[in-house]
């Protein structure tokens, strides 16, 4: 029984990490109508930028996370403005340009990996922070990183929710996500709002990267595996649905952990995709997803 609880706790925390990346993916999809295949590399860049920030500034961990989120958010906004804007403006979704956006995403993914390689090299690097002794809950002993993951993810999710529901800018993001033309007619600066939406999504992924970095090493290829799992998480929860992204992430994380613990650890990656296949067979729109119509 204790083993089960251990596995679930580990699964939930890695699930929160997947969930944050999935949140970014769903946010980008609902706001910009594009499927962002380079989001795993944003997560990776977040970890690297966080590493640099931690090395040079040595600030408390939450501040490091915040600074990294802002920096990576800006990086994301630049990428969107320079590379993606023309394609999204020409039409998203099922148009030529929309399909082109998918290929652009793959290209950006490769570019960012190689960029990171050029800057930091291919070697796995440890994250320069030490949290002290693992803490005990009941009969479980967990590294403090897990505490940070749970706490930060909670704060970020609540923060995003409040941003979207309670602020004027959040209202604009929701309006643009629903229909760009109508949002324009309401006086909203749509291109700026799109950039901000993208920046927020990248900030989320960056936070995930920084939260995971102390547990694993920081390396150039860390984004690839996470991207696919985060996509699975987003789809499981309902693509474009924000609470669904978190829910999907948690489900993927727990499924993966339980699978590795009880069935076999050698094929750990399979469990997430098995879950994805089952959900798609039973409820293709995702658990919290609704039938989406192609947006105007």
């Amino acid at each position: 029984m204790q083993y089960f609880i251990d596995l679930v706790v580990v699964g939930l925390s890695i699930g929160l990490v997947y969930g944050l990346v999935a949140l970014g993916i769903s946010l980008i999809y609902s706001g910009l109508d594009i499927v962002h295949f380079a989001h795993g590399e944003i997560y990776m860049f977040g970890a690297f930028i966080g590493m640099v920030v931690a090395e040079t500034l040595s600030l408390p961990f939450p501040v490091t996370i915040a600074i990294t989120m802002i920096l990576t958010g800006f990086l994301g906004m630049v990428i969107e403005r320079v590379f993606y804007r023309r394609l999204t403006r020409a039409g998203g979704g099922y148009t030529f340009a929309g399909m082109g956006m998918i290929i652009c995403g793959f290209g950006m993914s490769i570019t960012l990996q190689n960029l990171a390689n050029l800057i930091w090299g291919a070697k796995a690097k440890p994250f320069p922070v030490s949290f002290g002794m693992p803490f005990e809950i009941g009969s479980m002993v967990l590294p403090q990183s897990y505490l940070w993951i749970f706490g930060s993810a909670m704060i970020l999710m609540i923060g995003l929710h409040l941003f979207l529901k309670k602020t004027r800018l959040g209202l604009a993001v929701r309006a643009v996500a629903h229909n760009k033309d109508i949002a324009y007619l309401m006086g909203i600066n749509v291109p700026m709002t799109i950039s901000i939406t993208f920046g927020v999504a990248c900030g989320m992924a960056a936070a995930a990267g920084v939260l995971v970095a102390p547990i694993n090493y920081v390396q150039v290829l860390m984004g690839i595996g996470v991207l696919v799992k985060a996509f699975a998480a987003a789809v499981v929860g309902g693509f474009g649905n924000l609470p669904g992204a978190i829910l999907g992430g948690l489900l993927v994380g727990v499924t993966e952990s339980l699978g590795a613990g009880y069935i076999s650890g050698s094929y750990k990656d399979i469990y997430a995709f098995m879950l994805l296949i089952i959900v798609l067979m039973v409820r293709p729109s995702g658990i919290l997803g609704i039938d989406t119509r192609v947006k105007a």
């Binding site: 004027r168 209202l171 309006a175 007619l185 309401m186 006086g187 600066n189």
Partner: protein
């Protein structure tokens, strides 16, 4: 207030407007009429900035607005009231209205504008916290008009406000629009429902083949044989017993 000169516009290689000239004076209500596919929504899109005209000029309050971004045009006081189906279903009534008032950063004036809209449309006040997806067609149209009012515009463009609504509801809404105009609003109303539009408007223009085909004071158009035969199938006076919307 709004001057359109020789406007040409279309979508890609398809030219819809072939030189439209149209003026709306301050506090005037002008109706733009025409059947399906004649270019009414194209004109609206060109005026509000969603598409760029290929030729011609659009001037608002003395300033050229053709080619400007839609959000900049709203900031200059020209708001478009969308069709009722374009309300945001996932947001409450009040949130929808707040989106309409987005150009306003001032809490006090947003509050004031909300009260003004609720004054015109008490049913919206009743349902302010309800999701707009629960509203009826007429209430949605009121919501869209309210959304337009929130940006404190000097002029409003109405996009087929009677679409998909029962005649009595259309009359009610048009009465409220008439009241709003008496407070000093300038209006360009695009309509397929020629009868209703000419009851409300002082001046009418009929769009056909991408140009203004017939135009004139509303009373003249109502009795114009061309308009009557093409669009009305009888005179307006016959059907409504001379009902007056200017109450």
């Amino acid at each position: 207030m709004l001057e359109i000169n020789n406007l040409e516009a279309g979508y890609g290689s398809v030219q819809i407007l072939n030189g439209v000239t149209l003026n709306v004076a301050k506090t005037q209500i002008v109706a733009l009429l025409g059947g399906n596919g004649t270019g009414k929504s194209t004109i609206l899109k060109a005026i509000s900035g969603l598409i760029k005209p290929t030729a011609g000029t659009i001037t608002f309050n003395g300033e050229r607005i053709d080619g400007k971004r839609p959000n900049q045009i709203v900031r200059r006081g020209l708001a478009q009231v969308t069709q009722s189906k374009e309300a945001y279903p996932g947001m409450t009534v009040e949130e929808n209205l707040r989106v309409g008032g987005f150009v306003n950063n001032n809490r006090a004036s947003i509050r004031r504008n909300l009260e003004r809209v609720y004054d015109h449309f008490p049913i919206l006040k009743e349902r302010r916290q309800q999701l707009s997806g629960t509203l009826s067609g007429g209430q949605l149209q009121m919501l869209c008009i309210g959304r337009g009012l929130m940006s404190e515009p000097k002029m409003m463009l109405l996009d087929e406000p009677s679409a998909a609504l029962a005649p009595q509801i259309v009359l009610d809404i048009f009465r409220i629009i008439s009241r709003i105009c008496r407070e000093g609003m300038t209006l360009l109303i695009v309509e397929q429902n020629v009868r209703m539009a000419l009851l409300l408007a002082q001046y009418g223009c009929v769009l056909k083949d991408g140009v203004i085909h017939i135009e004139g004071p509303a009373e003249d158009l109502i009795h114009d044989d061309n308009v009557r035969l093409s669009y009305l199938g009888g005179t307006v006076a016959d059907r409504h017993g001379g009902q007056n919307l200017q109450q």
